[in-house]
Symmetry: C2
Subunit: 225 residues, 2 copies
Amino acid sequence: MAFAVTVDLVMLTVRQDALCALLVRRAIPPYESAWALPGGFVREDEDLTDAAVRELSEETGIQREAAHLEQLATYGTPARDPRARVVTVAYLALLPAAPTPKAGTDAAEAEWCRVADLPALAFDHARILEDGIERARAKLEYSPLATAFCPPQFTIAELRAVYEAVWSATLDPRNFHRKATTTPGFVVPTGRSTTGDRGRPAQLFTKGPATVLHPPLLRATPPTT
Amino acid sequence: MAFAVTVDLVMLTVRQDALCALLVRRAIPPYESAWALPGGFVREDEDLTDAAVRELSEETGIQREAAHLEQLATYGTPARDPRARVVTVAYLALLPAAPTPKAGTDAAEAEWCRVADLPALAFDHARILEDGIERARAKLEYSPLATAFCPPQFTIAELRAVYEAVWSATLDPRNFHRKATTTPGFVVPTGRSTTGDRGRPAQLFTKGPATVLHPPLLRATPPTT
DNA sequence: CTAATAGTGTCTGTAAGACAGTATCCA
DNA sequence: TGGATACTGTCTTACAGACACTATTAG
């Protein structure tokens, strides 16, 4: 039994305090002119991750090191593509400050779209995107991954804005500051500060060496009934 | 480009206070007579999850409802199978009290093997198994999944034994009891008790409705330096 | 000066770790 | 009665949530 294997990307970033996903408009059938996730076929002798990296740079020109990239899940329902039996390996990419998208070869148009206001998507891409968003939301709790949405140097307020955008929540600035700066390995002070803004200059930080947050930074405190 | 797609299973259970994985001995080349994860090719018009369920029951005769089954990750390095380009979708299955394995059609022999003492495995199965074990260990922290290792009715001590086996750690019985019984939705008392054991009878519990543990049951308290 | 943002300090409730003590079975 | 296991209670410490205050810039 022969399958076609594709790689699809859930690319997320934070623009204007809103979580956004990159969508492309399909130029060819099926689902011609519909919005879809960027992606493409895996080449012979190409590793899955390499294919994802290739798609990432084709879509945004971004380097692999500048973004966080991880495998999300694989989708292979028999009828998901009308042309043939296609199994797609979805990857999740978290990007800092969004560069203007430039259309790739397969895509007529590419655009950052707020996840709160998504159009209908081709194939089962709505489901895949949903899974990617939920993965990102969950990972902010127990991993320092929020820094992947930030530029190389960032302030605590910028980091907090990422959490607020991804979770659609408001966080207490004082408590967040304490949490972010005291959690070992989360952020590293650079000694430098911002300047030119309206208020007191803010310290600039870099992504720390930690791979997990201990203790985690939990979302909604559920009613402890 | 045509790929073959297989499904491989990381099946875990707890036997005699040790975390064990099901391994099969390969009957055909490549890697003939080597240990490997149970798995097989995905059939035409078969969903990936259906293929995993099929393999699960072929190997152990276990019903889908009696176990926890979730997608783990997908592995598709070009040279991972010498025969052809094979992409494998790995699934993680957590099973209660281990039934004696019976060999399937592809497998000459099947055996539960302690994960602390694994043999060399065919293909990249060692890596897949490692990823599965780590996933299970991590999920016990923030999900009520430990109950998947238990029979339908279980005591708090049995549940604690699962944690201790999977984490290779010792937990305080009193504190664990408090944590397990007060975390909302983790376990539900049945009113019934064990009998015939050496000490005081223990209350029997059932898996609760919660899908996440709030707050989580964290592993190793890292040195809060 | 005022407005605005950054950062620090304090109080309080909750929950985890440590550990003592009580309850209920079997032999 | 003794041993073994199940369960409950208390104390201490750590940390999250709430909120008041000080610090440093631009205009």
